[in-house]
């Protein structure tokens, strides 16, 4: 995983709340056996019309949303299924951060493993961001702060180990494999 310290980008805004992983990537695209190329199917049922052409009404299809690396969404983003295909699709599309007032547990954990930063912010900041699509934000992982174009500095929580991993590109599996001695001792001591 590439180290990640700053995400500086304009925002694309998806105002819907409770955006579930079935919307992020519908189940019919889960038949893949690799991680690559899922960006094309991101939000497929909202993004494309039945004939396969882009739906001009959909937020990500607006000209000003092109090239944005930060997605702002309504409350409870990523609820539903545990499919890691959801952050794979978002990352493959080009997003590096998702901002909401609430991000579902499994999605958050999956996102952090794929260099996609889940940023949970207070209601007022979220409202401002939802009302200002295209705002240029600067997300600073070293301080766990986001700066809005207004100059407002918004802190966001991030589990310290996840932050450390993102900042240094540390591989979680490598860390776990390093605990082999402890795992063996635990297994040997189990009464059942």
């Amino acid at each position: 995983m590439e180290p990640l310290q700053h995400v500086r980008s304009r925002t694309a805004v998806l105002a819907a709340t409770n955006v579930d992983t079935d919307q992020i990537i519908p189940a019919r695209f889960l038949t893949t056996t690799t991680k690559e190329g899922l960006g094309k199917q991101l939000f497929a049922d909202w993004r494309y019309l039945p004939d396969g052409s882009p739906n001009p009404q959909f937020a990500l299809n607006r000209p000003e949303a092109q090239g944005c690396r930060v997605l702002v969404a309504g409350r409870n983003f990523g609820c539903g299924s545990s499919r890691e295909h959801a952050p794979w699709a978002l990352a493959d599309y080009g997003f590096r951060a998702v901002i909401s007032t609430e991000i579902a547990d499994i999605f958050r954990s999956n996102a952090l493993k794929n260099g996609l930063l889940p940023v949970t912010v207070d209601e007022a900041s979220a409202r401002w961001l939802l009302e200002h699509p295209g705002a240029e934000v600067d997300i600073d992982l070293t301080r766990c702060e986001m700066t809005l174009p207004t100059g407002a500095v918004v802190p966001f929580p991030l589990e310290p180990f996840a932050r450390h991993r993102l900042l240094h590109g540390v591989d979680e599996l490598g860390f776990l494999l390093g605990k082999r001695g402890e795992i063996e001792r635990y297994e040997a001591a189990r009464p059942w």
Binding site: D22, T32, E84, E102, K113, P160, F161, L177, R180, I183
Partner: protein
């Protein structure tokens, strides 16, 4: 010693390394369940790093999500019609063989939906930790296990190390007083709970379902309740093991036997929450006041009693979008709305008790003209049991389509889908937009309500038909 909750006991006994402010806990996993959709990339990762599966004996694989339910595709010479699904099934077969993981392959009589077969085999046990690359792993919490869904990267972690890095979640007690009235099921109870706490009300928490209303439930009903914990956003749902749990597990093929069984009973009986243990939050509910529940919107929290109406909230964009998708209007009564498809199955309501409940209504009746009733057992074993008990005959003479086991129309990956715009009354757990097919409109309810709707062709209170 301070009083501890069920969750805290299970958590503490699985800490290989406790958490610190800087690092999460290393948590040991007793049982890792695998299926074809969320595992291929994890096996690829192991292969790329030259790693073996650390504990194949704690790993169990099945295929369910993309598998066909048509008998000729499962057992006959007809190939799986969905190409990509066929590829996934073959990939799992290859991975299981290469890494020495036990697999219940397509034609195995022990195959079925991952969350149905593990309890059925007795592999799901109290006080253990269970994970699977699937959010409805919460089902296994019905046995007092700490069971939760993980992503594919974590599937790789567990395959390689039998451990996960985890922060300790908070606890939420859902206290259920009173007993469910006749015709009101565990599905109605959990829908009412989700309606009450909301689809993100459990985020960051493990729910423990407690109280006389829960103690009175069978294991199958408890599984229905725990299954949908994730629909409230919870990490997991748990119910303390008791004599009902023990009676269910006794004699199951993978349950401990002989002296090991006695030792297990001793442990299990001490697993429950101590009197006076504190929860971070709690919610109370009276089961005796519930009626059958049904969803009207596009998440499981958008739910009303069956005699109720679509809530009036015009102007709220979430509400408006959901209603536009569903083709419903503010204030419309739910009763009497026509349905096109009825699906009875899934890891929520595809077990034998669910099929029995549906058969009780379907016996001697016919599926309404123009309605398609699809009944998909949760496992091949349930299929056999239902056939032996004469349920399959009842279904077929009513005009239902009786299938091989699998996830089927719960998520429509295997070709069993609902047409655009059609109304599907489903016993599954998610009514998200497009969940059962592009543009499909899903209404979630119990197997009783589903069977009643299949016969009437419209949403009907099942209490008048039992």
């Amino acid at each position: 010693m301070t009083a501890r909750t069920l969750f805290e006991k299970v958590w503490a006994s699985h800490e290989v390394v406790p958490e610190t402010p800087d690092t999460p806990a290393v948590l040991y996993i007793d049982l890792h369940l695998i299926h074809e959709v969320t595992s291929p990339q994890a096996f690829s990762e192991l292969r790329a790093r030259g790693l073996p599966v650390r504990r194949p004996d704690r790993t169990l694989a099945t295929m369910d999500h993309s598998t066909p339910t048509a008998s000729d595709q499962v057992f006959g010479r007809v190939p799986i019609t969905v190409d990509a699904a066929a590829r996934q099934v073959q990939t799992l077969e290859r991975n299981a063989a290469e890494f020495g993981v036990e697999l219940f392959a397509l034609r195995d009589p022990r195959r079925g939906i991952v969350h149905v077969i593990s309890p059925e085999l007795g592999a799901t046990q109290p006080g253990t930790t269970i994970v699977c690359g699937d959010s409805h792993t919460s089902t296994h919490g019905a046995f007092g296990a700490l069971a939760f869904g993980i992503g594919t990267t974590e599937v790789g972690h567990v395959l390689a190390t039998q451990c996960l890095l985890q922060r300790k979640p908070k606890t939420l007690a859902v206290n259920v007083e009173g007993r469910l009235p006749p015709g009101v099921t565990a599905k109605d109870l959990i829908l009412a709970i989700i309606g009450r706490i909301g689809v993100s009300g459990g985020t960051g928490h493990v729910i423990e379902y407690r109280g006389p209303g829960i103690r009175a439930l069978s294991m199958e009903e408890r599984m229905t309740v725990c299954n949908m914990s994730i629909e409230a956003g919870a990490r997991a749902g748990m119910i303390a093991p008791d004599e009902t749990t023990i009676a269910y597990l006794r004699g199951r093929p993978r349950a401990p036997q002989g002296a090991a069984w006695e030792a297990a009973l001793e442990r299990w009986r001490n697993t429950g929450t101590d009197p006076g243990a504190a929860f971070d939050r709690s919610v109370d509910l009276d089961a005796s006041r519930l009626e059958p529940m049904i969803t009207y919107g596009t998440n499981p929290g958008m739910v009303v009693p069956i005699s109720g109406s679509v809530p009036r909230a015009a102007g709220d964009p979430v509400h408006d979008q959901a209603l536009a998708y569903m083709g419903f209007h503010d204030g419309e009564p739910m009763l009497g709305k026509p349905v096109d498809v009825v699906f009875i199955g899934s890891c929520t309501n595809g077990r034998l008790e669910d099929l029995r409940a549906a058969a009780g209504i379907l016996k001697g009746r016919k599926v309404a003209k123009g309605v398609r009733l699809l009944i998909v057992p949760g496992s091949q074993r349930i299929k056999q049991e239902a056939e032996a008990a004469g349920l399959a005959e009842i279904f077929k003479s009513a005009g239902a389509d009786w299938r091989e086991s699998g996830c089927s129309m719960c998520l429509g990956m295997n070709g069993d889908t609902v047409a655009k715009g059609a109304y599907s009354l489903s016993t599954s757990n998610r009514n998200f937009e497009g969940r059962q097919g592009v543009g499909a409109r899903t209404l979630l309810a119990s197997p009783l309500t589903a069977a009643a709707a299949a016969v009437a062709g419209r949403i009907t209170d099942p209490r008048g038909m039992i």
